[in-house]
Amino acid sequence: MANPSVANAPTSPIEADRDATRRHRAALLLVLGIAIVLPFVPPFTGQDYQRWLVGAALLAAMAVAFDFTAGYINVVNFGFAAFVGLGGYTSGLLAVDLGVSPWIGIFVGAALAGFVGLLTGMLTLRLRGIYAAVMAWFVGLAVMGLVRNLPDITRGSLGLNVPLLLDTSDNLPYYYVILGMLVVTLVVLTVVIRSYIGLAFRAIGQNLQAARASGINPTRYLVLNFALSSAFAGWLGGFYAHYYGILTPDVMLTSRTVEVLAVAYIGGRGSLWGPAVIAFPLSIAVELLRTQFANLPGLYLVLYGLLLIVVMIYRPGGVAAAARSVDEWIARRRRPEPVETPRAT
């Protein structure tokens, strides 16, 4: 059954490939367009909803940076929240103590988080798999302990008041800043993944021995990946600090890492865009739950836990894999049927 109704349907595999690329680009631009106009669509015009949108975009960007490590080199950075906090505290302290503009501070924070990520990576990524994940967790716990125990510098659990990024407490400008940061994170990390470096990452993630046999130095690439992901974590942490205006050691809690991890895996490991897209509906739903059932603390985390369990057991590819199968279905529909040759009798 040929499908002549489809205009400019692909005729060759290369055409089909280009068609797919066009389709994906259109879908992503559509999603980005929705994200841009969303704050003007009721009910998202309210300050509450806009604050949630900022939180959603921040979570999305963090999940992308997390997926860059977890989904490609297959190392789960269990100390992720500590790198976020490290960037936040660096930028915050620079602004408080030295009066450095937050716009510069967040990049310094990113650099420091990246550097600590580099050290942690060099230390732990010689170890593999679960050792690396657990060691990253320990490093995160140690960093959190340090922040908590140096109240002369960080004010410890009292919380550090940090100047805001913009001269306004209106949420809308912040939303566009973080949306921009999300796009930058997504684009930069996607470009890296598409390059030969990304090929090496995937090779290492799939089979370390085979990658090594093909002449890839695994440690170098693992450390590079880890440091880059940590740098983005620190950068986003800087935004966190200068948006909420207060920092406590609690930003580094393991449960924060698990939240980012859950979003990354529900969105789909190894896709980068999956976590970015799913973070929005997920975190808006979570915020609605949180306000509707304010008397039931922890309900939203029960939801995260359940979703993570279901995804891990039954849908390992997450939402991205589901989207991919829809995409394949569309591709099949658009592909012209092979011409049937009359069977010889």
Binding site: L123, V139, L141, G298, L308, M312
Partner: protein, 345 residues
């Protein structure tokens, strides 16, 4: 692993001057010095070390046999403390009403602990049937990382279910045995702590005997060494898995109930025991049960020294640094073998 023939050829000095023995020797030396200078350090080390040994032994067992890096181990501690509290509260009331019932006073705390161990074991078996078995059926690709994330989801779920259903407050007791403390080595030890140490010792002894001397224990160790081989020898894997996770979970819950007077039950109570158990297991080498029991006392010594000489707040920072240092020299842990296991792939 050094084989028997190698042992004979290696000179005596070289055989014992290994890194592992150095660290162990140092630990013993510190204990001896401490026993003279500050006997309370020795007491604290032994008492908490015994309980960490229960937790870490279970963690090492479940990792060794089932290759599950259990991130929800702390939540079994939580379940244990909750069950212990629920069972012990009415008994405590009864004791207060009849202050003369000596027998009740002596055996009163035990039903709670036994109930906790049983409930913990049941929850563990439930996790195996509901979660790990379906996952095992679906895919064993990247099993270690997947189960790690799966148990992270379980941990979030259980913690917040507790918060949701039971409530976000502390449920604790001041003491199990209402008798004056005993004096030993110039330190007064509360009877609770002494009893906890004795319970830990007896449990560890039974646990080791079970693993070393019984048929089922041997079968467990066989599965840990070679799953396929064990299956070919006629070992029922399903049964061994259920037994392993039940035993491991039961030990964690027993620790939770026994330490109720130190750790009152509340949703996040499991976090510290969890990462301490992980410190121990990483330090000792993943999957090594006997190593974990020895490692528990080393970690406990580190903790006690940190608390005593530096400050309570540093208890997360300094032991972590020490563990990272050890792993730099011995990446597979103090008692880990040089053979690369499945979990490092």
């Amino acid at each position: 692993m050094t084989t028997a023939t190698n042992l004979r050829t290696v000179p005596l000095v070289r055989r014992y001057l290994t890194f592992t023995w150095l660290v162990l020797g140092l630990a013993v030396l510190i204990m001896i010095v401490a026993a003279i200078a500050q006997p309370s350090i020795v007491v604290d080390t032994l008492v908490t070390g015994g309980m960490w040994a229960l937790l870490a032994g279970g963690l090492a067992l479940i990792f060794g046999v089932m290759n599950i890096p259990n991130f929800a181990h702390g939540e079994l501690f939580l379940i244990g403390s909750l069950v212990g509290f629920t069972v012990f509260s009415p008994i405590q009331d009864a004791i207060l009403e009849n202050p003369d019932a000596a027998l009740l006073k002596v055996v009163g705390p035990f039903p709670g602990m036994i109930a906790a161990a049983l409930v913990g074991a049941a929850v563990g078996v439930g996790l195996e049937v509901l979660l790990f078995r379906p996952l095992r059926k679906r895919s064993r690709d990247q099993w270690v990382m997947n189960t790690f994330l799966l148990t992270a989801g379980v941990s979030v779920l259980l913690v917040n279910m507790d918060r949701l259903v039971i409530g976000n407050d502390f449920r604790g007791i001041t003491r199990y045995w209402d008798v004056p403390p005993i004096r030993l080595l110039d330190v007064s030890i509360s009877v609770d702590r002494a009893m906890v140490f004795i319970i830990a010792l007896i449990t560890i002894a039974l646990f080791s005997l079970f693993l070393q001397r019984t048929r089922v224990g041997r079968a467990m160790r066989a599965v840990a060494q070679d799953e396929a081989g064990a299956q070919m020898a006629g070992i029922d894997l399903k049964r061994i898995f259920m037994l392993t996770i039940g035993l491991s979970s039961g030990l964690a819950s027993l620790a939770g109930a026994a330490l109720l007077f130190m750790f009152p039950s509340y949703p996040d109570v499991g976090l510290q025991p969890l990462y301490l158990a992980w410190y121990v297991v990483i330090l000792a080498g993943l999957g090594n049960v006997q190593g974990a029991i020895a490692g528990a006392f080393i970690v406990s010594l580190l903790q006690t020294l940190t608390v005593f000489y530096v400050g309570v707040g540093w208890v997360d920072v300094l032991p972590t640094g020490f563990i990272i240092l050890i792993l730099l020299f011995k990446p597979s842990g103090l008692f880990g073998s040089a053979v690369k296991g499945i979990w490092e792939q």
